[in-house]
């Protein structure tokens, strides 16, 4: 069985939740991250808690195991026992993300959703992102409104932003993560090399390219300078068991293919 591009993306989203244990896995940026969270639970993260998108927590058999209306979600997120995958309209090299509007906020060219919960999510718990169309206008040098905060903003905020983590960014072309870049990174010169040390602020790095995608393609489709390691691995395809669960149990109608066409 060869996995389609959409299926590779679902598996890459599932990987974002690896190690999370018994927390709420939230996916609001499309079907692929939602399938990713459910695939993670069905395979290597059995304790993940997942909402039905309304007010119920539902287990793997779709039995209601809890009640989580919006008010409880907004309190839960401040407690930190949550990891969400959001869909940014724009994201920059440090992971600052915008979902509110395009153009100047004061008089936008295009009004979108509004900031929603992105500011609170990103300072309270782990966040990942799903981008179904990797393009320079999405992965852009500067976002129009910082809704979800990136590593540079978190570094400036210091202790108040200590719960900030952007785990990974999954796109239709690649998986990206964040690593300290610049002269402070691993220079062994006695600098702290971590967040808060200027040059050591994590930037987006190419973690893997999906099967059939070249490094150049990803660099070309990214609007800022991406950190590209010397050796870029290929994103692992889901193993046969994961693929069976995805195809037969989680998404038998194949709706995932519409979100990542051309796979």
């Amino acid at each position: 069985m060869t996995a389609t591009r959409a299926e590779v993306c679902v598996a890459a989203c599932a990987e974002a939740f690896r190690g999370d244990g018994e927390i709420l896995a939230g996916a609001m940026g499309g079907l692929v991250p939602s399938l990713g969270a459910r695939l993670a639970r069905a395979t290597f993260e059995p304790d993940l808690v997942i909402s039905d998108g309304q007010a119920y927590l539902v287990d793997a058999e779709q039995a209601v195991e809890g009640w989580l209306p919006y008010r409880a979600v907004l309190d839960l997120l401040a407690s930190g026992r949550r990891h969400v995958m959001m869909g940014p309209v724009q994201i920059d090299a440090h992971g600052n993300a915008n979902i509110s509007c395009i153009g100047p906020w004061e008089r936008p060219k295009r009004q979108l959703l509004g900031a929603r919960g992105a500011p609170g999510n990103t300072v309270n718990h782990t966040t990942s992102y799903w981008i179904p169309r990797h393009a320079p206008r999405v992965l852009t040098p500067r976002v129009d409104l910082v809704c979800g905060i990136g590593y540079d903003r978190a570094a400036s905020a210091g202790y108040a932003a200590r719960f900030h983590e952007i785990r990974r960014v999954v796109t239709d072309l690649a998986v990206l993560d964040f690593a300290p870049a610049g002269p402070m990174a691993g220079d062994g010169g006695g600098g702290c090399g971590g967040v808060g040390c200027g040059g050591g602020v994590p930037r987006m790095r190419l973690a893997s390219v999906h099967p059939g995608v070249t490094v150049d393609q990803v660099v070309e489709a990214t609007g800022f300078e991406l950190t590209v390691p010397g050796d870029v691995p290929t994103t692992p395809a889901p193993d046969p068991e994961a693929l069976r669960i995805l195809r037969d149990v989680l998404d038998p109608a194949g709706a995932r293919e519409a979100e990542v066409p051309g796979g």
Binding site: A78, R107, G114, P119, I149
Partner: protein, 270 residues
């Protein structure tokens, strides 16, 4: 117990130009559309609308009655973008105060509890502080080195909410899967007006609500009760009815002027 029943137009007669009006529900869910329609029919103006926004916000922008909108988002769920709100923002005809959803909740809580602010981590490091320059952060007075945003109270002159059941005295039940923040809207407001799918005798409230946890709006919070079956249409009012997807599709495909919206039979309660 006083009889607080009135018509939607009688609610609107108690509102004034320039008021700050909170509207319950969330996006396309349990919006008090019958009360919103009554506002749209009126000459009220210069309103500040405070809402987890949906078509309530959009229509009050389209009518020009909302001068300012305080929101965390304005969305129609299945259709993420509200066409009237978009048009108003892009043409600069409405002033926006954009908050994080959790900061919005903190503001409602501060208002309900009569506190000067409510600490919340949401907003730290984000542009929400840039576009709301009057927002302040506060250092932990106990010296941990932590710093949080002091969310401003969202004090309301009036709140409008839609409920599944109510009695004539102004007790109301929210029987759907999510009660949203409607009880907080009522407590954050000087005066709260409740529309409801049906008014029942007080002795029937618990029985018909099916669960005591539904009885979250109490008569000491409310000042008027309007019986409005279908009063959330075209938004959903579970478990009584779902969203009207056909109506929604047309609303998004071909946004109509407010007069046309008010004239359409589909917009009326069923």
């Amino acid at each position: 117990m006083a009889d607080k029943t009135m018509t939607a137009d009688e609610v609107v007669a108690r509102l004034e130009d320039g008021m700050t009006v909170g509207i319950g529900g969330w996006g396309l869910r349990r919006k008090p559309m019958a009360l919103v329609r009554a506002v749209l029919r009126s000459s009220l103006k210069d309103l500040t609308v405070v809402s987890y926004g949906g078509p309530d916000v959009g229509l009050l922008c389209a009518s020009g009655q909302a001068r300012r909108v305080v929101h965390g988002f304005v969305s129609l769920d299945d259709h993420p973008l509200e066409p009237h709100f978009r048009a108003a923002r892009e043409s600069g005809t409405v002033e926006a105060v954009e908050l994080d959803e959790g900061m919005f909740l903190a503001g409602l809580r501060a208002a309900a509890l009569r506190l000067p602010f409510m600490p919340v981590r949401a907003g730290i490091g984000s542009d929400i502080l840039r576009i709301n320059p009057s927002l302040r952060t506060v250092a932990d007075p106990y010296g941990s080195g932590d710093e949080v945003v002091a969310a401003k109270p969202l004090r309301l002159d009036a709140a409008l909410v839609h409920t599944n059941l109510a009695d004539a005295a102004g007790n109301a039940a929210l029987t759907g899967p999510d009660q949203f923040f409607d009880d907080l809207f009522c407590q954050a407001a000087d005066r709260a007006y409740v529309s409801t799918e049906r008014i029942v005798p007080t002795g029937e409230l618990l029985k018909q609500a099916g669960c005591v946890h539904a009885l979250v709006i109490h008569r000491y919070m409310t000042h008027g009760v309007v019986e409005a079956p279908g009063g959330a249409h075209f938004t959903e009012c579970r478990p009584d009815y779902g969203r009207d997807l056909e109506y929604l599709a047309a609303y998004v495909r071909d946004p109509q002027p407010v007069e046309t919206f008010l004239a359409s039979r589909e917009a009326e309660p069923r």
